[in-house]
Amino acid sequence: MGIKAALARAAQRSADVMRSALLSAGLFVVYFLGMGLTRALAVLFGGRTRASSFREDPAWRPAEGYDSDEESCLRQS
């Protein structure tokens, strides 16, 4: 029983390590390739991220997306 439990724990630990490594690798690719490319395109074509455009414009904006019907409140975006 003791050995079985220890084996199960070890298996769980290695699964966690594997999962974390895969996640890191996946996020690395997304960040440096996916976001890097997006960033490069933005620079090339003079586009701006929303974060930087908001930073440069302090003005009030009309509120959007605050609809008060059930259907819009069921959406996550």
């Binding site: 960040y31 974060a51 908001f54 009030w60 509120a63 605050y66 059930e70 409140c73 069921l74």
Partner: protein
């Protein structure tokens, strides 16, 4: 007819749950109180289980769950912020995305797997949830609504209007122009913890002069209608690293190491930040008053916990009445999301007045068992005797732990999970600090006063039931209340009405009969670094491990040997 909705706020900080039924608030609590870890941010399983228990229902009886933000919109902002600071932000991106993939994008699935709930889940925008949390329980038929926090999905400030069951957001400011993030950035620069130390900085401000105000104005340019922006050369909110840049440190001097000595420069920085915050909030509220012509204002969002600024708004914005909900920060988003669904979507009637006592109670049998198991001698008293005995000890300079009824929702102890003392005692702040709280010595303690006597002691129009205003102590009363007077002459007052909390009211009245001063020192019942006590076990543990003199828990009265 749809009637029961469970509001949830979580995954950022201070997670909480709130149950509403047919428009009434049944229960609300923060997860930190159950987990015993301050600002716990995970899925609020304990808090929601408590709410279901308080409503005597199961998950199957819920008609809907309401969440306090729209996760996909928030994720878009997080991704774009990381994109904006690419390639510096990889470390933060990796950590943040791991959390998002883990639980933040899958709330309906979590609800199904953890609770077995497969009904409808509503997602109420973050600032709409803040606005709803302030307007619906305010008791105002019509009001202007202002929300100000760190950031929700994109919004950081919103202006809106409520009338009856209708609530509308008209305009917003967006990330990274954020008053909440500015306050947090300077809080961390001053060596205090973000989300925890902002109140400390507000207290520190009274010890300094706003000598850096002009320079701060220069890096936070603003417009007469309250609009402002943060110069990106000075602040960095793109990841989870420092919120201020090396340029900020060059201009204002080295940052304070947490726990390091506090000097005049730190106090001056705190004072400058507080002044700027008040300036911007005043412009925002004066603009809103002119725009809406409303007489009443509802305020919410983490910045609305700044009671010194709230007082300035009450005094100078032009609004006659200002309502700030007791859990104005993100914990209150659970209430706001539920309230929006209940009132705006389902049309249930609004509550006439909000009680902050929405948390768990503790039965007499359990208290008796806890005290017995702890080996404490105790007496069971009638309410009248309990109040008299407690008042007599307070008048003799004793420190009393006072745990009664249902726990408060929100960060302030409002007379149900409180440590009490005599406000006339010039050393009471030091005594409470030495014996229990061990807070920074510059932080003030708050007075709780009978509502009917509040004007005799404080320059306050109206009520301050949730300790969210800081009026000046009347000149002639300053010498009477040395333990609660801050250096700027203000005090963070709680006004106590009999209808809201009869037992606490009776205790203060008893103290008033004995001393002629119907005011007590009221601070939260906890040890440094811990959340407020929730159950009797925690109250007894604090009593035993501290040097508190007495403990009044339910109808039971305990005195330390030698009192």
């Amino acid at each position: 007819m749809t009637s029961r909705v469970l509001g949830l706020s979580c995954h950022y900080h201070d997670s909480a749950a709130c149950l509403m039924e047919a428009g009434g608030i049944v229960a609300a609590a923060q997860e930190e109180r159950f987990l015993r870890r301050k600002n716990a941010s995970g899925f609020p399983l304990h808090a929601l289980n408590y709410c279901l228990q308080a409503g005597a229902i199961t998950v199957l009886d819920l008609d809907a769950v309401a969440f306090y933000e729209k996760p996909f919109l928030k994720l878009a902002r997080v991704l774009e912020s990381h994109l904006d600071s690419w390639p510096r932000s990889f470390g933060s991106f990796r950590r943040t995305m791991a959390h998002w993939l883990d639980d933040r994008l899958t709330l309906p699935l979590s609800l199904k797997s953890r609770l077995g709930f497969s009904g409808r889940t509503f997602f109420v925008k973050h600032h709409l949830a803040h606005a709803a949390s302030a307007f619906y329980p305010s008791g105002f038929e019509e009001a202007a609504v202002l929300t100000v926090d760190g950031v929700g999905e994109w919004a950081t400030v919103t202006r809106g209007h409520g009338a009856g069951n209708r609530l509308r957001i008209d305009s917003e400011m967006r990330f990274p122009s954020s008053l909440g993030l500015l306050y947090s950035a300077v809080t961390s620069y001053l060596g205090f913890e973000v989300h925890e130390g902002e109140g400390t900085v507000m207290g520190l401000a009274a010890y300094g002069s706003p000598v850096f105000l002009d320079r701060l104005r220069g890096i936070v340019p603003s417009t007469p209608d309250g609009g402002f922006m943060l110069d990106r050369g000075w602040f960095d909110f793109s990841g989870d690293g420092k919120m201020y840049t090396p340029r900020f440190v060059e201009a204002f001097g080295p940052e304070r190491v947490p726990g390091g000595p506090l000097g005049e420069r730190h106090c001056d920085m705190a004072a400058s930040l507080q002044s700027l915050t008040e300036e911007i909030l005043l412009r925002l509220t004066q603009g809103l008053r002119a725009q809406t012509k409303c007489e009443s204002l509802c305020l919410a969002g983490g910045v609305a916990l700044n009671c010194v600024a709230n007082q300035k708004i009450l005094d100078s914005s032009g609004f006659k009445k200002v309502f700030v909900q007791p859990a104005a920060g993100d914990a209150g988003g659970s209430l706001g999301a539920a309230a929006f669904v209940s009132h705006a979507l389902w049309g249930h009637p609004r509550p006439a007045r909000m009680s902050p006592y929405l948390g768990p109670d503790c039965s007499a049998s359990r208290i008796r068992r806890v005290l017995t198991n702890a080996g404490l001698d105790f007496r069971e008293l009638s309410e009248k005797e309990l109040c008299r005995e407690t008042a007599a000890r307070l008048a003799r300079g004793k420190v009393v732990g006072w745990m009664q009824g249902r726990m408060e929702f929100g960060p302030r102890a409002l007379g149900n999970r409180s440590i009490l003392g005599d406000p006339r005692h010039p050393r009471m702040k030091e005594i409470i600090n030495e014996r229990v709280k061990r807070r920074e010595e510059f932080r003030p303690y708050a007075p709780a006063v009978l509502a009917e006597a509040a004007r005799d002691f404080f320059e306050l129009e109206g009520d301050s039931p949730f300790m969210l205003f800081a009026p000046r102590i009347r000149e002639e009363k300053k010498s009477v209340l040395p333990a609660v007077a801050h250096p700027d002459g203000s005090a963070r007052v709680q006004t106590v009405r009999e209808a809201d909390n009869p037992r606490f009211h009776r205790l203060i009245a008893s103290f008033g009969e004995l001393t002629g001063v119907p005011v007590v020192v009221n601070t939260s019942f906890n040890r440094r670094g811990e959340p407020m006590v929730c159950a009797a076990e925690e109250a007894v543990a604090v009593f035993k491990e501290s040097r508190m003199d007495c403990l009044a828990v339910g109808d039971f009265f305990v005195e330390r040997d030698g009192n």
